[in-house]
Symmetry: C2
Subunit: 202 residues, 2 copies
């Protein structure tokens, strides 16, 4: 009985960890910190129809697809979830996720709240983590500091942030990204704790 219990826990498939949060909150930085700290987590490479920038590598940063190819994969049920953002498609390949999970690796997905809730519907043991800034003022400061967006785009992102934060109660964990290192540690604690969770089906 004991061997069985421990064996099941050690050999079970990896979890899907969904990371959402407003644009500019630092999701990417926190994820990179976690990937560097934890040997059992991986990022799943997603597909997109947007143009590849010079510093992006096919198959590492994204799989770059034509819109036609992307649409045909949607029809084939290729994606766990996909979204249409600013005229471009982004999608998470179901097979890519499954392959990592079958190796016992936890898969990190950085997607929006809508996508997160879709994933939870399809994969009930997915873990939903919401990353928030310590305040809206700080979020605005971060968006301005990265000098990537127009004034209009910044205002739009702040408005979207307020909308997403309204949905926080549908998520499972809240991580305040006040300081990168602490935020990475908190996310890491969530990942470790979820590995230790006794699932009722077992």
């Amino acid at each position: 009985m004991l061997d069985e219990v421990i064996g099941k826990m050690q050999n079970r498939q990896g979890r899907l960890i969904v990371i959402s949060g407003p644009s500019g909150v630092g999701k990417g930085t926190v994820l990179r910190g976690l990937l560097a700290a934890d040997v059992g987590t991986r990022r799943c490479v997603t597909c997109t129809t947007r143009e590849r920038t010079d510093d992006e590598v096919e198959g590492k940063d994204y799989f770059f697809l034509s819109e036609q190819e992307f649409r045909s994969r949607i029809d084939q049920g290729f994606f766990l979830e996909f979204a249409h953002v600013h005229l471009n498609f982004y999608g998470t390949p179901l097979a890519g996720v499954q392959e990592l999970r079958d190796q016992g690796l936890d898969v990190l997905l950085e997607i929006d709240v809508q996508g997160g809730l879709t994933v939870k519907g399809k994969v009930p043991d997915a873990v939903l983590v919401f990353i928030v800034p310590p305040s809206y003022a700080e979020l605005e400061r971060r968006l301005r500091d990265r000098k990537r967006d127009s004034e209009e785009s910044i205002l739009k992102r702040l408005e979207n942030a307020r909308g997403e934060i309204q949905q926080i109660s549908r998520y499972e964990y809240l991580v305040v990204n006040d300081e990168i290192e602490s935020a990475v540690e908190r996310l890491h604690a969530i990942v470790i704790a979820e590995r230790l969770r006794i699932t009722k089906a077992e």
Copy 2:
């Protein structure tokens, strides 16, 4: 909305963390390790009717009560849970737990599975953690090494361990105590993650 969400999380009351596991598994050592590592956790001093040993301090290790006094407190609803073990009573004072929780501190309770399930019934947001040895052979070795029990008592404890482990699926987290330091880290991750959990009632 954001201030409200973060404020609620920071100001909410501490959780009750129930630690169960077979005699000899090292629960006490793991708990002491966690208390040393985490500033937000406390142990609640329990009451007992057993005799005080020379190195135990009243109010620190236990509150030592006469059986009459203990029984009268049971009638007054003084205890969150109590148990009758080897002719002695042990009980967790409800007020002591509540006082710590109101200060935002997580309260660690080291009690048996029966007590843990009783607590969960009364405090639905209690967190149930089961600590297991890596194997029964290792548990037997630890029980023999501590030279505290008779042969009969060791066999009885091993038999009880098998009984308790049968009930593991009623618990929420499983920590294998293969090595103290790792077990403390795992338990700490659970405590941190539970602090970040978004509760549906909020």
